[in-house]
């Protein structure tokens, strides 16, 4: 039996087909990252979880509209509800409440992106091909930033579309630049998360260590933000100068600060509920300062990754 030869020619044949010039490998790497991410079922669940505020608001608005339109006294109730509702703040809430699920999504997409390659010596495979460090890093980064952007932008656009079509007479389109502003904020959040997670991932060779580090930074700094928010709320805005700035000294804080500064709001209670006891919100930070901080943090983490990525460990 062992002497039976296969019908097919299994001997080595050269490849004479086309080879693309270097410069587009980053997209091959990004596509692979996205393809692997899309296979994770948990990611699909988290997409809905990250949009929960928009989904709940859509349901609330739909029922308010249905109930009030079928009730003679409904018009007044509708007007009162709409007057309490600050439209730009709904986007701020949608964006803010998406940040915790977005952390988990960023970890799912990015914690192992470079760490797993370090563990499996995959850098030797990547960098022995016509693909340099720049393309590798950019590909990994895009493979995280692009899905985060899409996950955040889709519910925002759906909510905006529903509002623009249904609630024009209630001032939804008062700020004509609201959608462009949101479309500017979301890439900043995607870039911010992608840069940090890529930088942290490059420092480890186990995805779980990178996850624990980013989650640790997120929760510790977030606790600090909550503390500052608590001080601010209890003092009714009469606190020392640093409190309102330190409120933004966290992963969440920076992104919420960016959102507040670009939309031009200090925020309000969610779902159009009146703030209990008239609790004031922490005012928006200076737009240039908060954007500068977000950019600086992103650049620092990308530089960390740049320094860590190498095909061979050269010990001097």
């Amino acid at each position: 039996m062992s002497n039976i030869k296969p019908i097919a020619d299994l001997s080595y044949r050269n490849y004479d087909g086309p080879l693309k010039k270097p410069g587009s490998r980053w997209w091959v790497i990004a596509k692979n990252g996205i393809r692997i991410a899309l296979k994770k079922k948990a990611l699909w669940g988290l997409m809905f979880v990250s949009a929960w505020y928009y989904l709940v608001m859509l349901v609330v608005l739909f029922f308010v509209q249905q109930v009030t339109s079928s009730n003679p006294a409904g018009a007044q109730a509708m007007k009162a509800f709409m007057e309490r509702l600050i439209w730009p703040d709904q986007f701020l809430h949608g964006f803010s409440y998406a940040q915790l699920p977005m952390l988990i999504i960023a970890l799912m997409l990015g914690a192992g992106s470079i760490a797993n390659d370090n563990r499996a010596n995959a850098m030797l495979v990547y960098l022995s091909k016509p693909c340099d460090k720049r393309e590798y890093l950019f590909g990994k980064w895009i493979g995280i930033a692009l899905p985060i952007f899409v996950i955040m932008v889709v519910p925002t656009i759906i909510f905006y579309g529903y509002g623009a079509l249904t609630f024009r007479e209630y001032g939804f389109l008062k700020d004509a630049w609201l959608l462009p502003k949101m479309l500017a904020i979301i890439p900043i959040a995607a870039i911010f998360h992608a840069s940090i997670v890529v930088g942290i991932s490059s420092m480890f060779n186990q995805a779980r260590n990178a996850s624990a580090t980013y989650a640790g930074i997120y929760f510790i700094t977030n606790f600090f933000t909550l503390l500052m928010g608590g001080i601010w709320a209890s003092s009714r805005g009469e606190t020392p100068f640093p409190v309102k700035h330190l409120f933004y000294a966290s992963i969440d804080g920076v992104l919420i600060g960016v959102c507040k500064a670009i939309i031009g709001t200090k925020g309000s209670a969610p779902f159009g509920i009146q703030s209990p006891g008239g609790v004031s919100q922490v005012p928006a930070p200076n737009i240039a300062a908060i954007l500068g901080i977000a950019l600086l943090i992103s650049v620092v983490f990308v530089l960390i990754a740049w320094r860590k990525i190498r095909a061979v460990e050269v010990i001097g």
């Binding site: 097919a8 299994l10 001997s11 080595y12 044949r13 050269n14 490849y15 004479d16 087909g17 086309p18 080879l19 693309k20 010039k21 270097p22 490998r25 091959v28 790497i29 692979n32 692997i36 192992g112 797993n116 390659d117 563990r119 499996a120 010596n121 995959a122 030797l124 495979v125 990547y126 960098l127 022995s128 091909k129 016509p130 693909c131 340099d132 095909a311 061979v312 050269v314 010990i315 001097g316």
Partner: protein, 320 residues
């Protein structure tokens, strides 16, 4: 046969040069990994021999552009190793010494991904991945996650990802590392078949002399970062004066004395084998030996031109 050209670089007559290295020095801090190394690597299969830490892997990494040389220059397929790293890597396939793979992928996914990274269109990369996996003996396991592979299979998949884009030069760093005897045989068969008559030039870096002897036509011996010797294995194994080994049925002093009477030099026998040295051409020497055997009543069982083993060549290079 290798000879030195005007610039002192070892080169090979009538063979196209795949890589040319001139006065290459690579230092890691105070440690000199390659020390003013110059050589030419011709087409075909070349073995890079040297003890552990000799600088073999550093030479491969420098060729690939992973390590910046401190001084010196080199070209691979006519491309400068200092400036054309990307173009060189498009022409080269590397099978690294360490285990390496892209985590979470099946074999076919990994190899086609490696093809796309090399610049192949996705459809071509997938088709080609199936071909090379079949060639490397992983056809049955192509849909398994690479992380579940045995050591032998991991070695094969490293070869498959290096071959997928049809490289003109294949760099194999210790290709038989961690393989059992059967796996080693199969890997060496694969390397030999790809490097002979398929248009793929191969550089095999190893400290295992039998592996090199099995698959390579030429060797470059690097010791402590310096080139010690280079040439075809056949030439390097030749002994000065072309002595012959004569095997008799049983040792015969009369035979030995007769040869010495005819002016030949006969070394003390090793078992039944006499090493005979003379200025005569091999055909004439054979006639003299036959005559001496008839006269002394000895039975000749074998006659062959004496050669050194590759191990002897290597040890000589090591101690010189």
């Amino acid at each position: 046969m290798a000879h030195e050209n005007s610039s002192g670089v070892l080169s090979y007559a009538r063979l196209v040069t795949v890589a040319r290295i001139s006065n290459l020095t690579v230092r890691y801090g105070n440690f000199t990994a390659l020390d003013d190394l110059s050589c030419e690597i011709p087409e075909g299969c070349t073995g890079l021999l040297g003890p552990n830490g000799a600088g073999k892997t550093t030479l491969l990494k420098t060729i690939l552009g992973f390590v910046n040389p401190t001084s010196g220059e080199g070209t691979v397929m006519g491309k400068d190793i200092r400036t054309d790293g990307m173009a060189i890597r498009q022409l080269i396939g590397l099978m690294p010494e360490q285990d390496c793979h892209i985590p979470g992928m099946t074999a076919v996914g990994f190899v086609s991904y490696a093809g796309e990274l090399s610049g192949m269109p996705p459809a071509d990369a997938l088709r080609r991945a199936h071909e090379v996996l079949e060639y490397c003996g992983l056809g049955e396991a192509r849909y398994r996650n690479v992380e579940t592979y045995s050591t032998g299979m991991k070695q094969r998949i490293k070869l498959a990802q290096a071959l997928v884009h049809g490289p003109k030069l294949l760099l194999l760093d210790e290709p038989t590392n961690g393989l059992d005897p059967r796996g080693r045989e199969e890997m060496l068969d694969l390397v030999r078949s790809v490097s002979h008559g398929r248009g793929v030039n191969v550089i095999v870096s190893s400290h295992l002399l039998p592996d090199i002897e099995r698959v390579c036509d030429r060797v470059i011996v690097v010791i402590k970062g310096k080139l010690r010797t280079a040439g075809t294995i056949k030439d390097l194994k030749k002994l000065a004066g072309q002595p012959a080994d004569v095997e008799l049925r049983e040792p015969s002093l009369a035979f030995s004395n007769l040869l010495m009477d005819k002016g030949l030099t006969v070394a003390p026998p090793k078992g039944n084998v006499y090493r005979v040295q003379s200025e005569l051409p091999p055909e004439e020497l054979l006639r003299v030996v036959q005559r001496a055997a008839i006269e002394s009543g000895a039975q000749v069982r074998g006659f062959e031109t004496a050669v050194r083993t590759l191990e002897e060549v290597f040890l000589e290079a090591l101690t010189s």
